[in-house]
Amino acid sequence: MLDFQSYSELLDLYSSYAGVVDSSDWEKWPEFFLDDGTYRLQPRENFDAGLPLCLLALESKAMIRDRVFGVKETMYHDPYYQRHVVGTPRVLSVKTTDRGEEIEAEANYIVFRTKREGVTEVFNAGRYRDAIVRTTEGLKFRSRLCVYDSEMIPNSLIYPI
C-alpha cells in the first residue's frame, strides 16, 4: 500500500489535473503525462463489450499536444466552462517496474458544463482508470483512461476530461 506521503502526492496529482482542465490553461494538460503516456476517453458500452474504439485515443504526449492545438486553434465550438468534481482515488495496486514504482488507481468524476447564457448541466460522468509512475518531476500518468457512463454526448465534447 502507499505511505501517507505518496498518497498525498496522488491526491495532489488528481486535484492539480482537475484544476488545469477546468482553467482553460490547456498547455499545462500534456505535462501530466509521460512522453509515451496515453490519454483515452471511452464510452462505457465499448469498454464493457471489449470494443477498442474511444471517443479520443491520444497515444503519446505529442498527440495530446496536438489535441491542445485543436482545442485552442482549429475547432469551432460554443465556448463553455467546465467544472470537474473528482472523488477520492482508490489505489488498486502498487508495483515495482523497470520505470520504478507504478501505482494503479481509479476515481469517479463528474464534469459540469456551463455555456454562455446557459444553465449548468451534467456533461460527463465516469471513472478514471490510471497507471501512474514516479519521475524526477513528480507523479505522471503512464495512462489515463476515462470510461464514461454518459454515452450520449450532448452534441460535442471539446475540452479535456
Binding site: E45, L55, L58, T74, M75, H77, I153, I158
Partner: protein
C-alpha cells in the same frame, strides 16, 4: 419574406418550383416532421439497422430505431436476420430494454407474452384460463389466434454485411432503391469482406435531422470549416472531386482525391481556418496508407436518404445513423469498423484516425456545433429561407466541389415526396 412582417407564418407555401431557397419552416414545423416520419422513414425508403457483425451468433439481438420507432434486429439459428418492432402485441409496451444481448426468445415482462426471434407469438399465460373450484376462469376468447398477434415484422435487406429494413413490405428491392450509381459506391466499401466491429460513439445534436444529410451533401464547407481538411489537403476546393446522385436525387456520393495541402493557394489564402505552418506533433494522426479497394479516391462520403451516411475518409470507415427525435433534435450514432483481414497496424491506424471524427473529432465536432447554430437561426424566424445557390440553382452531378447541387437535389426530391 421578412418584409411581410410575419415571422411565424401559418400554413406557409414554398414559393416557386426551385429547391435552392429552403424555407426555415421546413426545419421547425412539427406537422411536417410527422409527415417526414410517415413518408420518408416509415414508407418507401430502406432505413439503416446495423451491421451483421453486431449479431454474429444465433440469439444475438441489437435494439435500434427506424425513425422514432424502436426495433430489434435478431439472428436466428438458421443464420437469418430479422427485424421486429419493439412494441408488445398485447398492451403496446416497449419491452426490450437492453441495447444488445443474446436470448432464445423475446419476452414482454408485463404479462409474460413471449415471442420467438422472428416475432411470432409463442406464449400467452392463462390463454385457456385458470381452473379453480371445478370451473375455468378467464382465458382468451376461443377464436383468439396467436398467429394474428405477432410483433410487427419489417422487411429486411442485407447486402455486403449491412442490414436495412422497412415497415413497408411493398418497397422496391434495396438495389433499386439505391440505384446503380450509389450502389457502386456502397459496394466499394461493403464488397463482401468480413467486417470487424470497432465500437460506437453517440451524440445528441439539437438540430433538424435533415441538416446532417445536408452536411454530408455539402462539399463547400469542409475545406473552410475544418482546419484539418484544408491544412492537410484531405478535403478542399482544389482537390480532384466528383459529386454524384441517384436518379431521384435523394442519395449522393461526394468523391474526393487528396491534394497536397500545406501551400497557400487561391482556395486557402485569407481563410481563417487555414494554418499554413501547422504540423502534427505525432505523425500517426495522418499516417495514411492507401488501400487497394479505394481505387483513386481517398475519400467517399455516401448519403443514403434518409437514415444513414457511409464514411470512408482515408483509413477511417464508419456508418453514421440518423435517429430523429422531434423536429429539432436527432441522435447521431457512429459505428466504426474495420475488416477482418486488417493487420494489427491497420487496425491501430483506423483507431487513431478515428480521432478526426465523432462527437469530439478534430473535424466532426464542428459539424454538430454548426447544425445546432443553424437550428437556432431557423427557430428565430421561420418565415425566412436559406440560400443554397453556390454553383447555381440546378440539380445536376458535378466534377468539382464548389457547389451545393446535392442539397438542391435532396430538396427537389423532398418537395415531391412531401407535397410541399
Amino acid at each position: 419574406m421578412d418584409a411581410t412582417g410575419t415571422i411565424f407564418p401559418v400554413d406557409p407555401h414554398w414559393p416557386g418550383t426551385g429547391s435552392s431557397r429552403i424555407p426555415f419552416w421546413a426545419y421547425t414545423r412539427d406537422d411536417l416532421y410527422k409527415r417526414e416520419l410517415e413518408r420518408l422513414f416509415y414508407a418507401n425508403h430502406w432505413c439503416y439497422i446495423g451491421l451483421e457483425v453486431e449479431v454474429p451468433e444465433p440469439g444475438d439481438f441489437k435494439r435500434t430505431v427506424v425513425g422514432e420507432r424502436s426495433v430489434i434486429m435478431t439472428r436466428t439459428a438458421d443464420g437469418e436476420i430479422h427485424v421486429v418492432e419493439n412494441v408488445c402485441a398485447h398492451r403496446g409496451m416497449r419491452f426490450c430494454r437492453e441495447k444488445r444481448g443474446n436470448s432464445k426468445d423475446l419476452l414482454c415482462p408485463y404479462h409474460q407474452w413471449n415471442y420467438d426471434l422472428k416475432g411470432n407469438l409463442t406464449g400467452v399465460p392463462f390463454r385457456r384460463g385458470v381452473k379453480q373450484g371445478g370451473k375455468v376462469n378467464g382465458g382468451m376468447p376461443a377464436d383468439f389466434k396467436p398467429e394474428d398477434h405477432g410483433l410487427t415484422k419489417l422487411k429486411v435487406a442485407r447486402r455486403g454485411g449491412v442490414v436495412f429494413a422497412s415497415f413497408d413490405h411493398s418497397i422496391e428491392p434495396f438495389e433499386a432503391f439505391l440505384g446503380p450509381t450509389i450502389l457502386a459506391y456502397f459496394d466499394r466499401v461493403f464488397d463482401g469482406r468480413k467486417l470487424e466491429l470497432l465500437g460506437y460513439r453517440r451524440q445528441r445534436i439539437p438540430g433538424n435531422w435533415k441538416l446532417m444529410q445536408e452536411n454530408i451533401k455539402d462539399p463547400y464547407h469542409p475545406g473552410l470549416l475544418h482546419t484539418w481538411f484544408s491544412t492537410f489537403g484531405l478535403w478542399r476546393a482544389d482537390n480532384q472531386s466528383e459529386l454524384k446522385m441517384d436518379a431521384h436525387l435523394r442519395h449522393a456520393a461526394m468523391i474526393s482525391t487528396r491534394g497536397q495541402g500545406g501551400k497557400v493557394t487561391e482556395v486557402t489564402s485569407g481563410i481563417d481556418s487555414f494554418k499554413e505552418a501547422m504540423k502534427v506533433n505525432d505523425p500517426r494522426l495522418l499516417d495514411i496508407v492507401h488501400e487497394p479497394w479505394w481505387g483513386k479516391p481517398t475519400a467517399v462520403m455516401t448519403t443514403i436518404f434518409p437514415s444513414v451516411i457511409i464514411q470512408q475518409q482515408v483509413n477511417s470507415v464508419s456508418t453514421r445513423h440518423i435517429q430523429p427525435n422531434g423536429h429539432g433534435s436527432f441522435d447521431f450514432v457512429w459505428t466504426h469498423f474495420g475488416f477482418a483481414d486488417d493487420d494489427p497496424e491497420m487496425k491501430q491506424r483506423r483507431l487513431i484516425q478515428a480521432n478526426l471524427f465523432g462527437p469530439a473529432g478534430f473535424v466532426s465536432a464542428d459539424d454538430g456545433e454548426v447544425i445546432e447554430w443553424s437550428q437556432e437561426g431557423f427557430e428565430q424566424k421561420p418565415s425566412h429561407r436559406t440560400l443554397v445557390e453556390m454553383g447555381g440553382t440546378d440539380t445536376t452531378d458535378s466534377d468539382h466541389m464548389v457547389t451545393e447541387t446535392l442539397i438542391r437535389g435532396m430538396y427537389a426530391y423532398w418537395r415531391k415526396v412531401m407535397g410541399e
